[in-house]
Symmetry: C3
Subunit: 491 residues, 3 copies
């Protein structure tokens, strides 16, 4: 990489000294000065321009910190571990989705899942994080919260007060939230699988993680209006899972079903190509959820293992109920239903993992496991093609998991916490608020995603691959390669 030598003097001493407009102007001025328009030269501008913005050397000085105390160490250590587990869920989603789809589209699904997480982290860092955790109704300028103007300027300074209070440091807080944003995008992937164009899906993911998800998230997790009403969603059954599912549903509706999915209006089974990796993916997701749910306590305390237990019991309940129920209805225990039962149980407890008794969690998961069997059939009956059952798992069970708090939720994780549900003496208020939250997330996501998918489709000549490409497989069409070139295909 060649770098012009006098650049470093362009670097302002501190960000504060440079006006916010000066940065982009410097960038443009530099770009105009370039004689060549080859992409490499342009790319070389990026670090130079960032130097101009002083971004390689932000100037706020860190204060001396007091000795790191037990709470500070444990909280930050636990959240880092939880974040790593949530990031590992990307592997789980990739394996479940790829395994449950056909061989000819495996590369496409793997590429989507892999690339979208990289993109989601970047988009959430640039924009989403400050949008989601902005201070007021976004501080005059739209995005200006924890993250300063534009997320990428978020202030990583660790203050003495943070240490004294045992607070999370800004970096681990950001990374945990960024991993969640990635999850929402990954759920979409399942609903639009085997027919969406790669580039168009990528652009949608960018919009989702930069704007749609963060604004929705701020309603609850940044103390927004839903939080003010008393809405409960501990780890995101609604915020993350249902938002991802609604976003994907719009995509699935606009795309239409895969060729061959419906014959004379009747849904056909299109079996996945690799049950080994799908099962592995389910188990990776299971352990990843121990970051997702217990991590949402945002601290290490006596409640964290409690959340791990409710999460486990719900997964177990979901698996058992879905297996029994699908065996009763279809005669044999279907492995994809065991997988979906586990995931349904996990999603069903994601909102209430801190507001259900252990028994309540197991039953919530079990009901989720039954719901998912019905939901898969209902989605088929509605003529919607959801290749891996993502709407049934993340959408329907996301709603169920949000509502169940209003049925038999309790007020916290200590034994003897008061009932807040309709069925255990808490009245109907909580159920109403939970339902309102579900509706709000559905409407917001449906409307914004309809616009987003439609605009993308209009700009790029549709979001669906050609019929010929779909039949041949997206791996060849979108990526020019095969997932398993050394193996002979069946038929």
């Amino acid at each position: 990489m060649t770098v012009a030598s006098p650049v470093s003097r362009l670097r302002p001493k501190s960000l504060q000294e440079a006006s916010l407009l000066e940065g982009p102007q410097l960038l443009l001025r530099k770009m105009r000065g370039m004689s060549s328009n080859r992409s490499l030269t342009w790319l070389a501008c990026v670090p130079i321009a960032l130097l101009g913005l002083g971004l390689f050397n932000l100037s706020a000085r860190a204060a001396e910190l007091p000795e790191l105390n037990a709470a500070f160490l444990a909280n930050n250590l636990w959240l880092l571990v939880a974040t790593i587990l949530v990031i590992f869920m990307n592997a789980g989603f990739a394996m479940v989705e790829a395994g449950m789809c056909r061989q000819k589209n495996a590369v496409n699904i793997l590429a989507k899942n892999l690339f979208v997480f990289a993109l989601a982290v970047t988009a959430y860092w640039f924009i989403g994080y400050s949008l989601m955790y902005g201070n007021a109704f976004w501080d005059g300028i739209l995005y200006y919260g924890k993250g300063g103007a534009l997320g990428l300027f978020f202030d990583a300074t660790v203050t003495p007060d943070m240490v004294k209070d045992g607070s999370l440091v800004p970096t681990v807080d950001f990374l945990f939230q960024a991993a969640f944003a990635g999850t929402a995008a990954t759920i979409v992937s399942g609903l639009v699988a085997e027919r969406v164009k790669f580039g168009e899906f990528v652009i949608f993911s960018l919009i989702l993680t930069a704007f749609i998800y963060p604004i929705a998230g701020s309603w609850k997790w940044n103390g927004g209006w839903l939080d003010g009403l008393g809405f409960i969603d501990f780890a995101g059954s609604s915020l993350v899972h249902s938002v991802g599912a609604w976003a994907g549903l719009v995509g699935a509706l606009l795309l239409g079903p895969r060729i061959g999915k419906f014959v004379n209006g009747k849904a056909q089974a299109i079996p996945g190509h690799n049950m080994s990796i799908a099962t592995l993916g389910a188990l990776i997701l299971w352990i990843g959820w121990y970051g997702f749910n217990p991590g949402s306590e945002l601290a290490m305390d006596q409640y964290v293992p409690y959340v791990a237990v409710t999460t486990t019991l719900a997964a177990a309940g979901g698996a058992i109920a879905a297996t029994i129920f699908s065996t009763l209805t279809s005669g044999k225990p279907d492995l994809t239903m065991i997988i979906n039962g586990i995931l349904a149980g996990l999603v069903s407890v994601t909102a209430g993992c801190g507001n259900l008794t252990m028994v309540g969690a197991w039953v919530a998961g079990a009901v989720g496991g039954i719901i998912v069997v019905f939901a898969v059939a209902a989605v088929d009956a509605a003529g919607i093609d959801d290749p891996v059952g993502a709407f049934s798992v993340h959408g329907v069970c996301g709603i169920w998991g949000t509502l169940v708090i209003g049925l038999w939720g309790v007020d916290g994780m200590d034994p003897g916490a008061a009932g807040i549900g309709l069925l255990n003496g808490g009245g109907i208020t909580q159920l109403g608020v939970q339902a309102l939250g579900c509706a709000a997330y559905a409407i917001w996501t449906l409307v914004t995603c309809w616009i987003a998918w439609s605009v993308i489709g209009a700009m790029f000549g549709g979001i669906r691959v050609t019929e010929a490409e779909e039949i041949e497989g997206l791996d060849i069409g979108e990526h020019g390669m095969e997932a398993y070139p050394d193996f002979a295909s069946a038929k």
Copy 2:
């Protein structure tokens, strides 16, 4: 889900106020009142009945806790991480077993592993946990230990004393133990693979994790008679691994060998279908063992990394010895023997990971790696069909790992700890106690499992699939699906 409105008044104010018999009576009364017998309606009764039992709102009030100290935070955080690692071992077992069996049975194996963990957690929660950690010879009533009457009532209350003493909270203790119970059940799966009926295996697993394993476990880990004699089994070479292996051996003997395994009394190699996932599984098990062994310290202290080192060295020793030894005997390094060598090393150090020097651990693992090569041949020679070598790994090396403490074990993990083995000055007592423990676990498990498998077989018309189903593959017969439908099969 429709719920009858007047149910909530059935909820007693506290569990203590309701007699233990009243609960089931309420349940039966409700069920008799139902007019429809469709399964959905019945299932809807479950949460309602549980409300009747007050299980969505146990009433013991939690006390105010003192500030969480470093030991409390570190101990609980570490145990939670260890638990997650042990749960991840399910993915390892599933991949090793599926990869080492044939393609036509992959769905069945994956389904068994996935479902059985969900079931084991539930069964252990309902019954096993309080049975295993009951206070006395089970407090008059059989199951009445840490978990109150029936495990699912186990008291999750965190007391001020727990915080002061840095104790594990009950939830993380339960979850860690439940994950261990799941491991025992998973080991069985390997021994009965490719010929056992799905439903019958599931019922056996339920009995194993609810009754057989917990009672065996209490002998040592709940301060039972073996513990009183000074028996050492730090993380369960005998308690978990040999129990699982004996339970599976009975199944394998009752099932008989797979079709084609023995031709004219000579064992035939039946190669596994997917070495990639088998290898991945071995590596997942390796890291999962860092939860299994170091987690068994049940606290975070200076000894935890020591156990991680002995565990690592034994795995390394096992891999190296098994590879060299199988190359010497068969001419080429067999990948399945490298995998089994690693697992043999890990099992061989599971009992003694806190009672062996580092050199002692490496050698114990290496001897285990050699033993497993012999044992696989011996099992074949005995006409027993153990498809993935589970008895050799978990049974034979489980015993070896228990005995080695009596050969060159030391009294703790500090350098300079006194020798307690026959060969390092500790006399023969420890070796005798270790041998007694091995025998006790063998007898208990063989007897109870023979009864359990036999009763299940008698009730459901045998535990083995039909010859036609076995030849076609259990995936079609038991589950109506294929693991890799897009790939052409060899032949």
Copy 3:
């Protein structure tokens, strides 16, 4: 195992009492006394001889420890978790390499990766650890550092001062370093894949992890001459990744390209056989890197999550840049390029993860992502066959990651840290030192590995399999088995 009874009296009271020469003499005397020369009998000598050396019972007494404080607990807990994550990277490397190579060599690649980690741990324990962390220019005798004479005697004693100072205990320090040694060996595996003989590769790995890597590592991480010059390599872009890559490059050059890689001097694409496991491997490596980089802080403090963020952003930057750039140059987003872009980003930030701003890290990763696309083409153009792009990822990006600190690095992780790079006001000194370090590692590794590979080749009749074996596949030739025997091969 039969053991002669009077052996235990041969055990000296302490190692210190026995002269270092006495041990091997005892061993020889015992061996000479054996009447049978069958391998089993010989193997039985090993534990007996070790007893003779007192290795099952080292005698230094541990002191009473003060109460374990928060820093001690958090530091050791975090390092143990980080170590487990680094060890998990073995699964990632195995899956990426196996997936990107052909089906007929899958067993060989899996066996290499699995076995070499076991071997690396053992070799590093015996020799490497004390060589790398020796006190002076190796204390008169060559290997005599932290680990005492020969690494396997390393002193695991936890002293009261360690507890007071919150130091890492020796066991976790050893295990973390051993996992790093294993990584270096694994990188080599990729460069020599699909044509190297199994045994010869194993011997090379032994030499690498016992001697070549530890000596190179001591230059920086044991306060050696490069550290004295101010060379920065936080987690090992140069020390681990470039050393592994240079070592492999020598192997690749001596082996020559695979049959069919170059036709009339033009490089041919040889597609990998399993993109599902390759993608899984990349995601496992991603999360494993959270042990590799943040773990290299060697403590739990406010900087650890910062390192996790720079690591994440670089991976994201690498993925995005490589994907865009490879799409621009070849028309379609290639999944292997997304994978290599992620890995390139991760390697590019490994040296500077504690010396780059967040923006600086993202850009460093992105530049790495572009570099890797060029590098893969350049390696092909140079007529070198690097089957999985390991030299491009670990070698070229390892150098880039080392150099970028000299371009826009900063002096630490606090916001406002002073620039130390050429482009952000730090002058040219750091860049010069970084370049010197890169050159030193290149020269050392190239020279020593050339000797090692050549000697091995000379001793064992070459390091490459026969042409017939290569065409048939190394799985049959080296291991006598297939990875996927139930599947039909293409063509």
